[in-house]
Symmetry: C2
Subunit: 517 residues, 2 copies
């Protein structure tokens, strides 16, 4: 795996690992058709007959929908769960199955970390950006330990072991990793750092599938009526109250009466090009949406029934550039040759800040001592190599005394063990002085910048969807990426936050729906 | 006015011109109350009696509403115009009365500029950002000359004279100014530059009041029934069609039947703290909203009736830092000591990019040859002065070889007459070598960063409000800052774009409403 930059230098100054993939467009036409029926509710008086009756109807069978259905059923409600695809999964099953949990779990303690509810709550609020949902952050922090126990009680296995270092997901079946920016400035200065990414026991990447399988088994144990290949088409309202929904099954509309409530757990809108353009155009230059049926249907249905959608422009993105982790010792510069962040932040925070930069790419500068081939998945290319930083600067076509000046200033302080400009932690600091040197190109369109959306329905911690007047829409609940939840800022996102939000607030939404009048 | 930096240096290294002003909070409670009634329409079946009947009801008496009412009345419709305040004005009357017009006006020609429809359309599309409304840009570019003639025919006076240089608004009664980023990269490389800010003949700032007065006179001439102190409270719908609205007059609800359509011309939401937090949190660190009754009421009513609100996170902001214009020869650096834009762009584009920078301030670096006192309005303070840039760097508490390195690199190229890093135009380039030197602080909270919102209802160029399915909402029209219009990106905004949008697309909305079935 490890390659000497010198070999590259001798062969050619640049070789492409870049593959181009077109953004999916297949969904677009379907979206347009679907939106026409989604955006306004059907009036109950126009329902020809109720085909299905239940207490709680849950839409979407990812982690949010599973947890909502499960808790609603356990609270005594008759629950029907509708999934547009042919089985459970959603975006949750595409994930690593990692959940952001803290406050002093057994795993954290065993690894020697002394986490607290306060530190967790503070971190979550910082991560949530200028309009962080303080009520959800506090509620989650206070109940995080109990939620971890609940997950274990559902059969989610955790090995209980800690893996140090900077990793995206463990390749092993270990549990605890640093999955955010806890040790990085400014988080470290405000919230005592602890690793909080708790990963399901699973060899290799992709434990999310196993997590959803386990939750699905519990959902079925609880007697939830699961209908797959069942595409929600619109909500049904009576006055201001949501009383059911229309679902397309076997190509015909099925009218579902939900006596207590409907829970929207339909995910975000990363797969809906049209919604991205209108609400989150910052994603338009990125290549790789993460999602399955994440076409924003629940958000549109929710708005149509009076719900408020907030922070629709926010998105998570990451390019898996921290493999090898030594790359964290490199520095990122934009097209002006300037640094823009402490590179020891969470890879997604760094990536989100990359795409804020002008132009269409940034470069990761590395020296020979930290260089190895980036993982192929990342589609990171080598834009320039040189025996001096001045040579690299020239190869990139940058003016003299830009990139090279940035590196020399960085090196000067790194040699002293600090980074007064961006406050990178000393453990990741080393002067980039061991030539030859390389500039790796992360290109927003050509490299692998995966993304998903963070904006969605405004909800109370209980899962009640709020209208634009700040009042609950009777009968309507939502959870997960159909909502603007715990993770609501791409700059503050940390791995596991979305699944924490989906599972914990999915549970709340299910319980609230089951007890609604 | 002109002060030597040396005098400051001798007196003290920093003196504050900073005044602090709290953000208005008075609106907040009222907003909360208002939203409760705004966000859902009243069903026609629940209307006790129609108190007022008309063909077209226009809401809001700024430039958009005036133009809509005028064209609707001239098309033969019975028009009633409702204004929440006690007279015409809105945010339009707070402006300079400058309108972005091009394609070869008589004024442009007389001043020796050869503008074209193509150059105007290209500029508008670049300015609109990644989701620019190409249809509106093209339509406006093609009709810009005719629109100018129309404005003149309404009695809006233009002296016909050009003032060169970089100015915010003419202090004289002249007409044409450079009001955008036309001569700056990347605009200059893609659209042939021409000045397009056409300012009403008016001595001093604030010609917007006169513009609205003239439009009001035409509105009254046309027989529009104008009702002031009349606050729109909710739309009235029959099925999916908007058929009227409820207006509060003399503290009682008045039910208005609009047989052809309702035009929302209510402005943006700069004065609604709660909406800013939920939809445009990027404004939360800025001090000075521009607006009057810009509480987002029309946007909320429009969404409630099925309309789609798009790009709600976008906002215009500016700090009037280009007075004196020689400040354009200075360079901006962020808290890392890095430049971030070519400073010869439109002051608002530069300001919008300032607030993207990390931290809470940026510095404008000037040497003695270009220094004079910033205007008091801007609340720009002097953060450091020094005989060398190294001294300034130290005074600001920045690490060595950051800010000073940036200046030295800039100076090196400026001396050669180019700026290869940010491509500032040579006419604004000079090395900052004549000490003493100063760093002027533009602080996002403490300096005067005025702002208004650019997100709003999605409309066709005809003014029809689109629903989330992309179909028109029958009976509903909108214009101006209640919509996401021509100006829909804070980074691309240029002076006069909003009034161009308000007046031109206000006219279209009025005509469309008058001829609606």
């Amino acid at each position: 795996m490890r390659t000497c930059i010198g070999a590259l230098l001798r062969n050619s100054w640049s070789f492409g690992m870049t593959t181009r993939e077109k953004r999916p467009e297949a969904h677009e036409r379907e979206d347009r058709v679907a939106r026409g029926t989604l955006h306004r509710p059907l009036l109950a008086e126009n329902v020809p007959a109720w085909d299905i009756e239940c207490d709680v109807a849950v839409v979407g069978f990812g982690a949010s929908g599973a947890c909502a259905a499960l808790e609603a059923a356990r609270a005594g409600a008759r629950v029907t769960l509708f999934e547009a695809g042919s089985g459970s999964g959603g975006a949750s099953a595409l994930s690593g199955g990692e959940i952001y949990i803290g406050g002093g779990t057994d795993v954290q303690k065993a690894a020697g970390f002394d986490d607290s509810v306060e530190a967790l709550a503070t971190y979550l609020k910082m991560a949530g950006g200028p309009d962080a949902d303080a009520a959800k952050c506090d509620m989650y922090a206070e109940n995080s330990l109990a939620h971890f126990e609940w997950l274990k009680a559902q059969g989610v296995p955790y090995k209980g072991t800690f893996v140090p270092g900077k990793i995206i997901e463990p390749a092993t079946d270990d549990t605890l990793i640093w999955s955010g920016s806890e040790e990085a400035w400014p988080y470290s200065a405000n919230a005592k750092p602890a690793p909080r990414g708790h990963v399901i026991q699973w060899e290799g990447w992709g434990g999310g599938r196993k997590l959803v399988d386990i939750l699905e088994a519990r959902v079925r144990d609880a007697g939830v009526d699961v209908r797959v290949d069942a595409k929600a088409q619109s909500l049904i309202v009576e006055g201001e109250r949501v009383v059911g929904l229309v679902v397309r099954i076997d190509n015909r509309p099925v009218h579902v009466r939900a006596h207590r409530g409907v829970v929207l757990a339909t995910g975000g809108f990363a797969m809906n090009e049209d919604m991205l353009r209108r609400y989150a155009p910052g994603t338009m230059k990125l290549s790789d949406p993460i999602g399955e049926n994440d076409n924003g249907s629940g958000i549109l249905m929710g708005i149509g029934a009076g719900g408020d959608a907030i922070h629709m422009d926010e998105f998570f993105t990451t390019c898996p550039w921290i493999m090898p982790p030594d790359f964290v010792k490199g520095i990122f510069v934009n097209e002006a040759g300037n640094r823009f962040i402490n590179e020891d932040c969470y890879h997604g925070r760094v990536s989100r800040t990359m795409v804020d930069q002008p132009g269409d790419k940034v470069w990761l500068l590395v020296d020979n001592s930290i260089f190895s081939q980036p993982i192929e998945l990342a589609r990171i290319s080598i834009a320039a190599v040189g025996d001096t930083w001045e040579e690299v600067e020239r190869e990139l076509g940058l003016p003299e005394a830009t990139l090279a000046a940035t590196v020399h200033t960085f090196n000067r302080y790194a040699a002293e063990g600090h980074d007064p400009v961006f406050r990178k932690h000393p453990q990741w600091l080393k002067p980039l002085t061991e030539g030859p040197f390389a500039a790796l190109e992360l290109n927003f369109r050509e490299s692998y910048f995966s993304f998903f959306t963070l904006g969605g329905l405004s909800t109370l911690p209980t899962g009640h969807v709020l209208d634009r007047g700040g009042e609950p829409v009777p009968g309507l609940f939502a959870a997960g990426r159909a909502t603007s939840g715990l993770p609501r800022s791409g700059h503050g996102y940390s791995s596991g936050m979305s699944l924490a939000d989906c599972t914990f607030f999915g549970r709340q939404a299910g319980r609230s729906a089951a007890s609604a009048n």
